[in-house]
């Protein structure tokens, strides 16, 4: 696959660089939420958003290069992006149905479903349930 960038006008080149930078910053912010957490559902949401950002990046490079090689990847990502979060949500709901609060605490220490105060998460950690 010999990919050579099409020659664009300088204004387009600058705009493409700006778009790529915006997507990069967005990906970094979403990854930060993915790492910090605090609960599994937050990570599932952040993972969905990260998949969306990656898809936007693939769409951008498709447009810049005028090369539809990666469009099937986009198709697969739009299929698979949601299986992860649906699986996680299903798993959490099943654990809730079983009423295993203590297992919840054991498996994922920082979820705080038992009202345990987490320390050192900063001011925007997940809220405690009532």
């Amino acid at each position: 696959m010999a990919v050579t960038a099409r020659a664009h006008a300088p204004a387009f080149e600058v705009t493409f660089a700006v778009i790529a930078a915006l997507l990069l910053i967005a990906g970094l912010l979403v990854t930060l939420r993915l790492v910090r957490g605090p609960s599994t559902l937050d990570r599932a949401v952040a993972l969905d958003a990260l998949v969306a950002v990656v898809m936007a990046g693939i769409g951008l490079q498709t447009a810049v290069r005028g090369n539809p090689f990666y469009l099937p990847v986009l198709l697969v990502l739009s299929f698979l992006g949601f299986t992860g979060s649906v699986g996680v949500a299903r798993f959490m709901a099943l654990r809730d149905e079983a009423g295993t609060e203590d297992v919840d605490e054991d498996v994922d220490k920082d979820e705080g479903t038992g009202g345990v105060e987490r320390g050192g998460e900063g001011d925007d950690g997940g809220r405690e349930p009532r």
Binding site: L22, L23, L41, M55, A63, F79, M92, P129
Partner: protein
């Protein structure tokens, strides 16, 4: 300006708007307090942002087969992301990971009281 020039400019504008929505989602994910409000931020690039980027890419590619693929991608994204958001929001509600003081209206609580834990 020719037709292709207009398409290029509009496509670039669409992609810029989509990238701004992605950035907005990143900021919202970091700053909003709980799962439901983070979902509110995170689902913007999943539907509108991605559709804008796909429209932009379609305006740059301008070939029928690629346009069909992009249409399929947008269609699948519109089908799957509400399902995922529904499941995540449901799990967030049922595991109590939200602040009930913030809810304007809570119609799920009486529904759950009527038939508790019957549907999985």
């Amino acid at each position: 300006m020719s037709w292709t020039g207009v398409a290029d400019v509009v496509g670039t504008g669409c992609m810029l708007a989509g990238a701004l929505l992605c950035l907005l989602a990143g900021i919202g994910l970091l700053r909003l307090p709980d799962v439901l409000s983070r979902m509110h931020a995170a689902t913007k690039p999943q539907s509108l942002g991605l559709l804008l980027v796909l429209i932009g890419a379609g305006l740059w590619l301008r070939s029928p087969i690629d346009l069909c693929t992009l249409l399929l991608v947008g269609l699948f994204q519109l089908l799957t992301s509400p399902v995922a958001a529904h499941m995540v929001g449901r799990a967030a509600y049922r595991t109590g990971r939200l602040d009930r003081e913030d809810l304007v209206r809570d119609e799920l609580a009486p529904a759950l009281e009527e038939k508790p834990r019957s549907e999985g």
